[in-house]
Amino acid sequence: SSFSFFLQVEQVKLLDRFSTSNKSLTGTLYLTATHLLFIDSSQRETWILHHHIAAVEKLPLTTSGCPLVIQCKNFRIVHFVVPRERDCHDIYNSLLQLSRTAKYEELYAFSYNPKQNESQQVKGWQLIDLAEEYKRMGVPNDYWQLSDANRDYKICETYPRELYVPRTASKPIIVGSSKFRSKGRFPVLSYYHKNKEAAICRCSQPLSGFSARCLEDEHMLQAISKANPSNRYMYVMDTRPKLNAMANRAAGKGYENEDNYSNIRFQFVGIENIHVMRSSLQKLLEVSGTKGLSVNDFLSGLENSGWLRHIKAVLDAAVFLVKAIAVESASVLVHCSDGWDRTSQVCSLGALLLDSYYRTIKGFMVLIEKDWISFGHKFSDRCCQLDGDPKEISPVFTQFLETVWNLTEQFPQAFEYNEAFLLQIHEHVHSCQFGNFLGNCQKEREELKLKEKTYSLWPFLLDEQKKYQNPLYNPDFSPELTLLEPNTVSFNFKFWRNMYHQFDRSMHPRQSVFNLIMNMSEQNKQLEEDIKELEAKIKQRNGQPDAVISKEHQQPAHLAPMTLKSPPCFKKEQPLIPVNDAVRTIEGSNTADNRYSEFVEEFSKAEPAVVSLEYGVARMTC
């Protein structure tokens, strides 16, 4: 392969993260403008995008060289040993610079060129059309209309221009309500349930303090409940723990007083804030990254991290919301503090449980565009796209994907997409390779002229959607499946190994049923065509016994399993769960990978004269 680099260091060792005997690969390390590249002696390439680097750490010098540990946002951890300290220092400094970007314009998306022409680029950005999506939901209608109040981002900078509100909510009500809501994020429509005539609305916390009230805001909520002819009561879900919400009152914020709002039922659902989530993930990663981890340390670490508790809390909240709509036909207003983290999680998951459209590949893209991108989830801050406040970083979107993954495990036939799709989206939320997730809100994106200067991720994912299709998906599988009612008993939530150990091959099953079935179902389509073709030929022969045998006829029908061509835009990054994944086949299984490890140590300690059992156990033999 040809690429240009500005730094090259030879004889670098890449250590196995979990090996207790310091197993390693030796190779050459290159730094390019966008990637770090390691090519080992058997010419295998490991590409790491600079934007994916979350932290670089230089460890104390050892006899074999200077260790350098790189932690990535996609949970890859690589451990290099560079022979000379000066080289290590150079790499370290370069990576620090390269992975920290001060300006959006320096992000990869602005230089990434997938060789598309301008019209393809424009079409790509038009693939997801939110106006179309609101139409699909059934708005505008008799109760809901498009408001032009925020057309110029005058009322709320972090909302999109197009907002749907109850017809009875006049401009003064909107303006008044927005002044009473944190960051001006007044209640607007997120999802409309046609059959139940009920709505999911979202906003930020009210600036109620201990006693303040706002008539316009009260009218706004009334307008929402009146826009639902099926149930005059509406739920207001504060997704925060009650204590946090109460504490906010001291800062002049807070939550709705049921006495001031007619016909509301107020409910806290207790999802923790971004700081708790950040440190929870940190704890989880510390545990899962431990060498020679015991089962009990793993389980207690998992428990202490609280991670699965948080995932369950998010899903529990979504289930609460869905029950209100599906069972009581009641509209629900969801908020947290600013209404862009927990609110996005709960609204989008609620819609996903209610509407099977969001369980299709295209529908999931729409959902992310709507509840996350357009409503101003602060992707830039949360994913640390630019060098900024580390306290703003939080895995809120990752939690959303993980909750969806848990649902795909419970309902294996309800989703058109598979785990690889979720992982690929996670990858690109952090890669800054496409424009979709750059910035914190739509206004910022427009100012950056992202639609002219960068490309949208979605058409690329659609192009290779074969990789992301769930072979077991059955859209008409069962009418019950329109509404998913997940079981949220604790034992249903599992550690997402394929997310947090995506790059730790030795931990994955060596053969993947899923990939096999996926290939088989792909092959079935091909076989069906082959049969048609063969039957046509036979028919033709029977009809025309004297026909000249053409050369084409003598070629056997294509039978080999379909090999999907490698994607043009993801060449550098290893596909996450590639369809034909050699790693997951049996070849990858060897003793050296696994380490019945304590033994090796115990063993070599016991008698140094004996060769370590790992020695010479490089590959599976047949």
Partner: protein
């Protein structure tokens, strides 16, 4: 004794059956000598529940007014509840079930009464005879012989009548070795690794005692398995500490001085009540739906079940590694050599030997390494997770083995001819069965009970094509490789098919599984059709060419 004496109320009407995730059904309850039968006669949905009394692990009764409720907890971990009107009826039924589910005498068990309704194609009692196994071996090596020294079970009561031992060791020497090993379980061949001729043997602990007794014949026996200049490994399934303590009770371990060609490795695998406690705690945790996340995870951790799984798998991988990677022979033992020893030797074979990953091969492994090797099934499986008897000999040793197999199966889903259902079926039958296979504690007891004459073998039933089809893995592709499982905690999972089986609705998972099978079946059909059409086309082309040539 007549069962009728135990059944005070053989039948009760208007009984309501409650099961998790099903609507309650009303029907009639009948007690027979071996079954509890519940039948609902609802027109639309008639159904019957047959429960073997021997499957009942514990029974609780309580009353609200004259309505009695019996909660039945089964060895397969299922829990059902029966509401029985009438205090007397309820009490009678409860006490009958209690008596019938705890019969003292083996010969009163259902297998002695069961008459099969299927045609016996192959007598399972004769499916896996040691001679056949030995014949396979002789085609590979002539270094071993079949010894009939234990024909009358006179040398070792827990060994089968014939065992495979090194050719160079005569029966006289074996007798001496037997005196030097706990329970007379002298080292015998467990597995021969075709690839490099290395072997795995198993035994019980040597009786070295505090003064370091030795037995030249024992040393000679195990040395006979070593190649010149090569060393072997002894895997002791106890911690060094436990092994040292065993000396005080006359047991012990192989001293370096007397076994200089052997490296001893201690791998601690728990036994007895520690395992039973672990199972009880695990099932308790799984059965409580109200646990919040922290409590669930801490209960799962406190059960230690997955820790045991990891320990057993690690020891088995180690044994396999010594044989396949180090090219060394291995001797495995713990104390008696009837529990953790067998877990290690049988799992190592699954890792090493593709034959053990076929249905028949796995059955043969269970017969050789568990039944004939004298794992005391009757004691170990007397009670399951709802036991409160606290008997030391009850322990889910075999269930842990099956769980380990499931873990490997999950990691290598295409390398096994059987599926998860097969493993679950074996778990069920080990604890309660209409077949005689798992009765008794060793071959000696089985022969005294005349099981092959008086009962039906599980294998006679399983190995019919109707049954086999349920247990076949549609993804199976014979794989001759050694398969090394990952033992990282992130790679081990709770065996949901057993432990959450009754605790969650499985409709969506079952349907997805069915869909998967359909895709595989359809694929095979299409392949066959394409091949047939291509053949047809090729024939037509040949005909044409011949005509052209004419």
């Amino acid at each position: 004794m007549e069962f009728a004496e135990l059944i005070k109320t053989p039948r009760a009407d208007n009984v309501v059956l409650h099961r998790p995730f099903y609507l309650a059904v009303e029907g009639t309850l009948c007690l027979t000598g071996h079954h509890l039968i519940f039948s609902s006669r609802r027109q639309d949905n008639a159904e019957e529940l047959w429960l073997l009394h021997s499957n009942i692990d514990s029974i609780e009764k309580r009353f609200v007014g004259s309505l009695g409720t019996i909660v039945i907890k089964c060895k397969d971990l299922r829990i059902i509840q029966l509401d029985i009107p009438g205090m007397e009826e309820c009490l009678n039924i409860a006490s009958s079930i209690e008596a019938l589910s705890t019969l003292d005498s083996v010969t009163l068990m259902y297998p002695f009464f069961y008459r099969p309704m299927f045609e016996i194609v192959e007598d399972g009692w004769r499916s896996f005879l040691p001679d056949q196994e030995f014949e396979l071996l002789t085609s590979l090596t002539d270094e071993w012989r079949l010894s009939c020294i234990n024909k009358e079970f006179s040398v070792c009561p827990s060994y089968p009548p014939v065992v495979i031992v090194p050719k160079s060791i005569d029966d006289e020497a074996l007798r001496k070795v037997a005196l030097f090993r706990h329970g007379s379980r002298f080292p015998v061949l467990s597995y021969y690794h075709k690839k490099n001729g290395m072997v795995m043997m198993r035994s019980s602990q040597p009786l070295t005692g505090t003064n370091g007794r030795r037995c030249k014949e024992d040393e000679k026996l195990i040395n006979a398995t070593l190649r010149p200049g090569k060393r072997g490994y002894i895997i002791d399934t106890r911690s060094l500490n436990v092994a040292q303590q065993a000396r005080a009770k006359g047991g012990g371990f192989e001293q370096e001085a007397h076994y200089p060609q052997w490296r001893r490795i201690h791998k601690c695998i728990e036994r007895f009540n520690i395992l039973q406690e672990s199972l009880i705690k695990l099932v308790e945790a799984c059965n409580d739906q109200s646990h919040n996340m922290d409590r669930w995870l801490s209960k799962l951790e406190a059960s230690n079940w997955l820790t045991h799984i990891k320990e057993i798998l690690t020891a088995a991988c180690l044994a396999a590694q010594c044989i396949d990677r180090e090219g060394a022979s291995v001797l495995v033992h713990g104390t008696e050599g009837t529990d953790s020893t067998l877990q290690v030797t049988s799992l190592a074979q699954i890792i090493l030997d593709p034959r053990c990953r076929t249905i028949r091969g796995f059955e043969s492994l269970v017969v050789r390494e568990w039944l004939q090797a004298g794992h005391p099934f009757q004691q170990r499986c007397a009670q399951s997770a709802y036991s409160n008897s606290k008997q030391k000999w009850e322990a889910p040793v075999f269930l842990l083995f099956l769980d380990c197999v499931w873990q490997i199966l999950r990691q290598f889903p295409c390398s096994f001819e059987f599926n998860e259902q097969f493993l679950i079926m074996l778990f069920e039958h080990a604890y309660a069965s209409q077949f005689g296979t798992f009765l008794g504690n060793n071959e000696n007891e089985r022969s005294k009970l005349k099981l092959p004459q008086k009962t039906m073998s599980l294998w006679s039933w399983v190995n019919r094509s109707e049954e086999l089809s349920k247990f076949q893995n549609p993804l199976f592709e014979a794989n001759s490789l050694v398969i090394w499982p990952s033992v990282a905690p992130q790679s081990l999972q709770l065996w949901e098919g057993v432990f959450l089986r009754w605790n969650r609705p499985s409709k969506f998972l079952d349907e997805a599984h069915e869909e998967m099978i359909n895709i595989i079946k359809y694929n095979k059909e299409l392949q066959a059709k394409v091949n047939a059409l291509r053949r047809q086309l090729a024939e037509m082309e040949t005909d044409d060419r011949m005509q052209e040539n004419l």
